[in-house]
């Protein structure tokens, strides 16, 4: 019995992690979509590349390098946006185009493919632990801060008169966004993780008529896509990332067939 548990533990850990990661992506994605950050997710994820390159040079787990750069990037975007007051998308776009260029120079071809599309293989214990803890941090943050996030969404000025520290909230949101991208790196790679954050939320937005409906639909779609994509990938013996995003994209296009209620 204990042998079976021992053998299944990594699989179960991996399953729990992908489920929690999908929940985190669905939740953070909902607010990212409502905050017009749809196009920001992909370029933002590119900041992970130089981190992966640096980590490989230093012979540490590429995940930590990617995560360090993602969080640093979030702080950088926040600071630049505050200083020159231009749209988050513009700052993210410029910053991470540069990061992609740097990343592609210091990362080798094969490593680059793994980083972009996700590397298959068993997760190490620290990776599982980080993934579960990180997912829980994002989930708890969005659920606890959702009221402040809604008021901030309506108007930063109203948030200011509602005792919301807008600058701090924006920073935490960007950090949670960056952390969510970091969570998906091993499964989906930097190229595809942004998609799992955005596609389910974009689909949920088409049908939801309330915040709770938006959050629920987005989470359900993200979890469903992850589960179905992982299963199909297992059947054909290929990395799961592209299948997860294909399922999410498929669901999105299917949803276009149904008209949004007025």
């Amino acid at each position: 019995m204990s042998t079976i548990i021992h053998e299944l533990a990594p699989e179960l850990g991996s399953l729990a992690l992908s489920g929690l990661m999908a929940v985190a992506a669905g939740l953070i994605g909902s607010f990212a979509v409502m905050r017009r950050m749809v196009l920001a997710a992909d370029p933002m994820s590119h900041i992970a590349l130089p981190g992966i390159g640096i980590a490989l040079i230093l012979r540490v787990n590429p995940l930590w390098g990617a995560l360090a750069l993602l969080l640093l990037g979030a702080v950088l975007i926040w600071a630049v946006e505050r200083r020159i007051r231009i749209a988050t998308e513009a700052v993210i776009g410029v910053t991470f185009a540069v990061a992609l260029a740097v990343g592609s120079i210091i990362t080798s071809g094969e490593e680059l493919i793994d980083a972009l599309l996700g590397a298959p293989g068993t997760l190490t214990l620290p990776e599982v632990a980080f993934g579960i803890a990180g997912s829980l941090i994002v989930i708890v943050f969005v659920l606890r801060a959702r009221n402040a996030l809604v008021v901030r969404l309506v108007s930063p000025e109203i948030a200011l008169t509602s005792a919301v520290d807008v600058a701090r909230l924006d920073l935490y949101f960007l950090l949670a966004f960056a952390l969510t991208i970091g969570l998906g790196l091993r499964f989906l790679g930097v190229l595809l993780m942004g998609s799992l954050i955005i596609i389910p939320a974009a689909m949920a937005r088409r049908f939801a008529r309330s915040l709770s409906a938006m959050l629920t639909l987005s989470v359900v779609t993200a979890v469903l896509s992850t589960a179905a994509g992982t299963y199909v990938a297992w059947l054909v013996g290929r990395p799961s990332g592209p299948f997860i995003v294909m399922v999410a994209g498929g669901l999105f296009f299917l949803s276009l067939l149904r008209r949004r209620e007025a």
Partner: protein
Amino acid sequence: MNALEVKDLAVRLGGTEVLRGVTFSLPRASCLAIIGPNGAGKTVLLRALIGALPHTGTIAWAADTVLGYVPQKLDIERDLPLNGRDFLRARAALAGSSSAQQLEALNSVGLAEEALSTPIGNMSGGQFQRLLIAFALLGRPNVLLLDEPAAGIDAPGQAQLNEVLHALQDRRAMTVLLVSHDLSVVYSQADHVLCLGRHGMCFGPPRTALTAERLYEVYGQPLGFHVHDHS
């Protein structure tokens, strides 16, 4: 003790001086109308007063001040999956208000309970404006700042809104600062008026501060009694 004292307030935006030398004081439970042509800095003044813009000079609110702010325009998409309940619940949660208080705020602006389940994209401009006022009231403010609250609202809606503001002032002894283009509102509602123009400012009770000459100076053209701005 006054509700607000402003001394020598100046605001620069992108290298341009939008406000300069603004000085006035406002007694508690009074209503101040802020008037002036487009670009005179009325919205900038309100935003500076709530602390959203860097400025020089002094802005001193009374120690017990709780602000409620209703912005002129909202930079959000109207098809957001948020309904009236999401709006009010978020504000209520931050302010520690009960669901009974949410209904009370809704009633006090003349919105039916159905507004709670209506997506904001399906609301008319007037309904949305009233929802924003209800939103501001949930924080139990003793000072309400409104930036052109009647913009986009039909005539009966405007009259109802004016009644709402009157009632709030009477019942809650609220200090109200409102930007308005409608001089009839200024004369009927406000006990103080602050006019911002390109050639200086004026401040005082409407009947004495708003002379025909002063209006000419502020707007740069002669004005009738009733002014509408459709920009």
